[in-house]
C-alpha cells in the first residue's frame, strides 16, 4: 500500500495509535473500516476481542 512508503504503516489517527499501543494490538493486523481503510477505535476494540480480520460484510461501508 502506498501509505507504507511514508513510513507510516497504517492509516490511523494518533488517539487510535495510542489506544492500540495501550491494548497491545498490532495496528498492522487490524482491518480499518474508515475511509480508505483508516483504522478507527472500534476496529481496534474489535481486533482485541479476537476479530483481527473481521469478515468483509461487517466492514462494508454502511
Amino acid at each position: 500500500a502506498p501509505a507504507e512508503r511514508s513510513g507510516r504503516k497504517v492509516l490511523a489517527a494518533p488517539a487510535v495509535r495510542a489506544m492500540a499501543r495501550q491494548l497491545g494490538v498490532d495496528l498492522g493486523l487490524v482491518h480499518g473500516s474508515g475511509p480508505g481503510g483508516r483504522v478507527l477505535k472500534d476496529d481496534v476494540h474489535g481486533a482485541r476481542n479476537g476479530h483481527a480480520h473481521p469478515p468483509p460484510e461487517l466492514t462494508a461501508p454502511a
Binding site: A1, P2, R5
Partner: protein
C-alpha cells in the same frame, strides 16, 4: 555532601526538560529539575520567545511603512532600550510561568550544574554547595550551543552569537550575518527592519537550504526590497579591525571580497551539549556528531537514562524537544508512549513567514510516490488582499493514487499559525478531499489551504484549474 532521592531527575530546563518535568510531576513521579543558568533554556531566554517579540515589533514598524496606501501615515520612532525592556519583560513573564507550573506539579527546581557520577546519580554544583541526586531515571536535556567558526570567535562585543543578537544591545549601522539559515535570516530581517544595513554571507549555493525553492525566492525578494545584500557560495575567511570598523573577508567563487561593517552575527549552526556532563560515567553512548543516540522511546544505551531535545539530534526545534520530553516522562511512568508522529511542523519567522510539514514534492518522489501538487496564491484570497499581505502561497503535495495528503508548504501571512491545520490533517491521515470538503470560514487565510487541496484534485474554486 547532601543526598536527595527522586523518582526522576531532569537535567536542563529548556522546552525539552521543563516540559518533561511537568509531565513527570503530573504522572505522580517525585521529580527534580536541574538548571545551571536560567529556567526555560535557549528557547525562552534567547531563542524562540524573545526573537519573536523582536520580530513582531519590527513587523509592526514595517507594516506602518507600507500603510500609506491604506491612508495611514506616520513617522514611527523607535526606542531600542524600551523594546529591549519589553522583550526582557516577555522573557521574565514566561520564566515566571514555568516556575509556577513546576511548583504546581510538585517539581523541585534545583539551581546548579549536574554531572553524572554513575548511571543512577548526578552531582549538582550550585556554586560552592554540592548536592548528590539519586534517581531510578534521568532525562538529559542539556540542549545545544552556537557553533563558532575560526577567526570569528564570539566576544559578545564585535562578534555576536544569536544570544547577543537577540539581546538587542544596539542597532548597528552595518551588520554582517554569517549564515543564511533560519536563525541568521530571522534576526537579520529584524535588524534590517530596525534600520541596519544587513549583508548575509552564506557558504552554500542558496539561503534556507532544504526549504522549497519557490518559498526561498519570495523570502529573497523581500530581503532585497529591504536592501539586504545576499552573498551565496561565500566563505567567511576572517575578520579584521581597521580604525574603528570591522572588515569581514569573504571568498566568493575563489575571489576575496572585503565587507566593512560594525557588528558580525555568526549563525552557522548548533552543536550538542554532550561533553562535560559525565555521560560516559552513566554509560550513555554519544554519536559521532556529539548527539546522544536514542530509540523511539527516548532511551539511551544506559537503561536509566533518557535523552530528549536538541541534545539527541535534529530537527533542533522547541516543539520537538517538548514532545520528546512528554514521551520520555510517560515512558518512565510506564506508559507505552513512543515517537510516532507523522508530522513535525517547522515555522520560519522570516518575512514572509515560511512553514512546512510532511513531505515536499521532492521528498515524496524520493519515497516512491507519484505526487500531485496543488497551489494557491494569497494574492487571490480575499482575506489576504483585505489585510494587504498578499505575498505567498500554500502548496500541498498529495499521493496521486490514494489522494492522501502528504505535506504542505505555506509562505505568507501567519504561515506559522496556518501550518497547524495541515499538521493535524497529516496526523489524522486526511485525504486531500477531507480538507477540500471541510467548510472554511470566510474571509480567512486557511481558505488558501482548502483551495490548494481542492486544486491538487483539479477542483479549486478560486483558481482556474489546469
Amino acid at each position: 555532601m547532601a543526598t536527595k532521592t527522586y523518582d526522576a531527575v531532569v537535567i536542563g530546563s529548556g522546552p525539552g526538560g521543563y516540559v518533561a518535568a511537568i509531565r513527570l510531576g503530573q504522572l505522580g513521579k517525585k521529580t527534580a529539575l536541574v538548571e545551571k543558568e536560567a529556567l526555560g533554556g535557549v528557547c525562552i531566554n534567547w531563542g524562540c520567545i524573545p526573537s519573536k517579540a523582536l520580530i513582531a515589533a519590527a513587523n509592526l514598524v514595517e507594516d506602518l511603512r507600507g500603510a500609506a496606501e491604506r491612508g495611514i501615515t506616520s513617522e514611527p520612532k523607535l526606542d531600542i532600550a524600551k523594546l529591549r525592556e519589553f522583550k526582557d519583560g516577555v522573557v521574565k513573564k514566561m520564566v515566571g510561568g514555568i516556575q509556577v507550573l513546576e511548583k504546581g506539579n510538585k517539581v523541585d527546581v534545583i539551581q546548579g550544574t549536574a554531572t553524572f557520577v554513575g548511571p543512577n546519580a548526578v552531582e549538582v554544583d550550585g556554586g560552592g554547595e554540592k548536592t548528590r541526586l539519586e534517581a531510578a531515571a534521568f532525562i538529559v536535556a542539556t540542549g545545544a550551543r552556537p557553533v563558532q567558526i575560526p577567526g570569528f570567535e564570539f566576544d559578545g562585543k564585535d562578534v555576536w552569537s544569536a544570544k547577543e543578537a537577540v539581546d538587542l544591545p544596539e542597532v548597528p549601522k552595518r551588520l554582517v550575518v554569517i549564515g543564511g539559515g533560519i536563525i541568521g535570516l530571522e534576526l537579520g530581517t529584524v535588524y534590517a527592519k530596525l534600520g541596519s544595513k544587513v549583508t548575509v554571507v552564506e557558504a552554500l549555493p542558496t539561503i534556507l537550504t532544504g526549504v522549497d525553492p519557490e518559498a526561498v525566492r519570495l523570502v529573497q525578494k523581500s530581503l532585497k526590497q529591504r536592501e539586504v545584500a545576499i552573498h551565496v557560495n561565500a566563505k567567511a575567511k576572517g575578520l579584521e579591525r581597521k580604525g574603528g570598523e570591522l572588515v569581514v573577508k569573504v571568498e566568493v567563487d575563489g575571489k576575496e571580497q572585503a565587507i566593512p561593517c560594525d557588528k558580525v552575527l555568526v549563525a552557522v549552526g548548533f552543536r550538542p551539549n554532550s561533553e562535560g556532563i559525565g555521560l560516559d560515567k552513566a554509560g550513555v553512548k554519544v554519536g559521532p556528531k556529539g548527539f546522544v543516540e536514542v530509540n523511539d522511546r527516548m532511551q539511551t544505551s544506559a537503561p536509566s537514562v533518557y535523552c530528549i531535545g536538541d541534545l539527541c539530534g535534529p530537527p533542533l526545534l522547541a516543539h520537538k524537544a517538548s514532545k520528546e520530553g512528554e514521551i520520555a516522562a510517560e515512558v518512565i511512568a510506564g506508559h507505552k508512549s513512543v515517537r510516532d508522529w507523522v508530522s513535525m511542523p517547522a515555522a520560519i519567522f522570516t518575512d514572509p513567514e515560511v512553514a512546512t510539514v510532511g513531505l515536499s514534492e521532492e521528498q515524496a518522489k524520493a519515497q516512491g510516490y507519484d505526487p500531485i501538487v496543488g497551489k494557491f496564491f494569497f494574492s487571490a484570497l480575499g482575506r489576504a488582499v483585505a489585510i494587504a499581505h498578499t505575498d505567498g502561497f500554500v502548496k500541498v503535495v498529495g499521493d496521486r493514487e490514494s489522494k492522501l495528503l502528504l505535506g504542505a508548504t505555506i509562505v505568507g501571512p501567519e504561515a506559522s499559525d496556518l501550518i497547524a491545520e495541515a499538521a493535524l490533517a497529516l496526523e489524522m491521515g486526511a485525504y486531500l478531499e477531507d480538507v477540500g470538503l471541510t467548510v472554511h470560514a470566510h474571509p480567512t487565510l486557511p481558505e488558501a489551504f482548502m483551495e490548494a487541496c481542492k486544486g491538487a484534485l483539479g477542483e479549486a474554486i478560486h483558481r482556474v484549474n489546469a
